[in-house]
Symmetry: C2
Subunit: 344 residues, 2 copies
Amino acid sequence: MTSTSRPRVTIADVAREAQTSTASVSYALNGRPGVSLDTRARVLAVAARLGWSPASAARSLAGAGSGTIGLVLARDPRDLAVEPFYMQFIAGVEATLAPRSMGLLLEVAPTAVAEVEAIRRWHMSRRVDGVLLTDVIADDPRVELVKEIGAPAVVVGDPSEAAGLTSLWTDDAAATQQAVEHLVSLGHRRITRFAAPGRYAYTVIRDAAFESASQAVGIEHDIVRTDLSLDSGADAARTVLSVSRPPSGLLFDNDVMAVAALTAAHDLGLSVPGDVSIVAWDDSLLCQLVTPSLTALGHDVLALGAHAARRLLDVIDGVEPAAFQDATPTLRVRASTGPAPVET
Amino acid sequence: MTSTSRPRVTIADVAREAQTSTASVSYALNGRPGVSLDTRARVLAVAARLGWSPASAARSLAGAGSGTIGLVLARDPRDLAVEPFYMQFIAGVEATLAPRSMGLLLEVAPTAVAEVEAIRRWHMSRRVDGVLLTDVIADDPRVELVKEIGAPAVVVGDPSEAAGLTSLWTDDAAATQQAVEHLVSLGHRRITRFAAPGRYAYTVIRDAAFESASQAVGIEHDIVRTDLSLDSGADAARTVLSVSRPPSGLLFDNDVMAVAALTAAHDLGLSVPGDVSIVAWDDSLLCQLVTPSLTALGHDVLALGAHAARRLLDVIDGVEPAAFQDATPTLRVRASTGPAPVET
DNA sequence: TTGTAAGCGTTATCAG
DNA sequence: CTGATAACGCTTACAA
């Protein structure tokens, strides 16, 4: 049997053992000046020998931060499994946090209200030094909250929704244009975009870019609204492809809907990319593994997470708010896009 | 502009405002006896009006726990995106934690050493009240660590690897048997299992179950070792299917390899399930969306996470260690399994 | 360079 | 039932 609860070792124990004061121990451990080289070495040795780590509660109570940042996942738990985004994002955040031995506190909030409450509670109880905000919508209550309570925060999304908070954005307009131009270069003259709900800031941006890119080259274009779900994508694709002169190029706002469209096209007796070409957002393993593999717009989410965390640490350190741009998503061309079919 | 840093409201403020002592405020807030109904109401009202939340650092320093449990993800960040398991598991854990307003601290550790260090640091600094251990291997250093330092922990995995700690296991043997019997009932007489590395405890269990189930019905069977990666699965499948009399039933230890095998079979001119039937572990969206959809063994990971967290809270509360069984994975029959081809 | 001591905001003890 | 008051373990002036 193991000892049930061995005596806790505190800074006082270390000080006594190293024959110095608690102040010196504190200074030594935090690598601050004001301690002789000799004392510092002695303290560090003793601390290591005793296996002492400062109690985080005591430390943050005494004024240091909590050494933790918060991330609320505002999704239905069932959807989280479907989207690899968050897991990659989290891994990226950790890549920034771990070396500075900061922690990541997570919460899965089923509703917007729960989300706001989680952030408020975290901040009021000083459990976190700052928060990361993803999936920001227009007039997002979370943005208003963090501004109101003055919590350090970084908005992962367009600056237009950040209300002056530090934001980290990707150029979805440029990416959308890339996708349209790819289809046009293959000869497609009629394309349809299957868009996310209009409340997401990026939807508006992608919609506009899609319109202008299409108009610039003078092709027929249309936008269909979806809710990003598998069924929604399948239904919309079926409807769009069932008309007399269906579009030959389809652009989806996520990978799941694009895969659903693949099946829908197959069911309608259409070949991909023979009859219809498909492009997806959110490149993922799914895009690579389905047959035919999907041409997709994607970016390095791991890097995005790392970048976001870095910016948040800056904000916590008092750096002035600003808008930062992350890498633009790139188009990975695969088997689902090909030359447009000849008009009958 | 918002106020930069409004004055912090403490328990003393609430006590003064409610014309009582801090002790009563503390009792009232925590719903403990020893406060008159009148005082309790007054305190709660003032607390709400002032928007006061107790500082978590002060609370845990004063003896309460940290109100946090820890989870270390011991995977290469790149792999995390591929596996929906963790995200679902986390969502489940949260489902248990959130109602008790407990937090989840996360760390993505690239190496086993980093993982052990994270747990040790968390425990020594009392940042977490307990930890959840997943992906346990034989003689897992994490298991030894938590036993040594006496940290409350729950092993998500077979009791044989838990060294007496509380564990939560699923009956992989029974599930494996189900899969084998499914194939046998379809007439398959030669089946191959594509297994995870032998260091995982579940590999040994599944191997044994596969052997005995196959022997029980007297069919040819073989086990091929893989590393669970896409490439590993593709290579192994290609090799196995290229021999003169290939097996007609394939059983994979995860979904990704099964999908890879689908492609491999296609490349070899074999039809699924016409020539070869495929069964996967770890049912996922991927299994449902590929063509043909994959018959798979799967379980409710969300529920598993919730269950694991519940057990950990029990351990933290001092409940004696024990082994608990979670629901047995079930076989979801889809399009990738069918009658065995007639022997030539 | 060192040591002393005053907070930090709760909880818990123990007299009133 | 109520209200002082002593921990809890650390950081940080401030003195020596």
